[in-house]
Point group: C2
Chain length 113, copies 2
């Protein structure tokens, strides 16, 4: 039995993390940015075909407020806005990997039976 309580374990950092990663499209956006580095709004929309404009805007805004991604707007016409991961955003890689890894062994364990 672990020594930490539910409160300590799931308490602050865990819920903080879940809070910023919650939402249908967060991981997709994160992965694409992890993959490509920097993308414009339209490119993100193309990279995640099923997302609606409204949702992409909302999720990006949320991630930006949470300091996970960085938004850089250029004063040009037509407008250009580039999104990339912050340092803390890049450090999410192990999280995505561990979930993906678990998913693989989970899929295996399901097909074995």
């Amino acid at each position: 039995m672990r020594e930490k309580t539910l409160e300590e374990y799931l308490g602050c950092p865990f819920h903080l993390a879940m809070n910023t990663l919650e939402g249908k499209w967060k991981f997709a956006i994160l992965y694409v940015l992890l993959d490509k580095g920097t993308l414009r709004f339209k490119d993100l929309e193309r990279a995640i075909p099923d997302i609606s404009t409204r949702m992409l805007v909302k999720e990006l805004k949320h991630l930006e407020e949470k300091k996970v991604i960085v938004r850089k707007a250029y004063a040009e016409v037509p407008p250009r806005v580039e999104y990339s991961l912050s340092e803390i955003g890049k450090s999410l890689s192990p999280v995505i990997d561990s979930i993906s890894d678990w998913g693989k062994s989970y899929a295996n364990s399901l097909s074995e039976k």
Copy 2:
């Protein structure tokens, strides 16, 4: 740039994982079972004070269908039902840890500025 596409990476195993872990209380239940090993329904309710009976039933049922937890009912009066993690359920520990770890460094990076 990674070689996998969004489809390959987020495609099957990742979404499979997210699917079974989705929901407000999944991680809380998982953590408590990881912590205590085996618990009766009422004990789970006590361990997660804010959850409603309805939600606990739903989440447990979902996790059982997904083969992540094991339900064992005893033919007694009053009834006794015990929940525990399956092998694949126990292997979720790294996922929970990586999220929790990221949450910690995230909290640090927020407070530094």
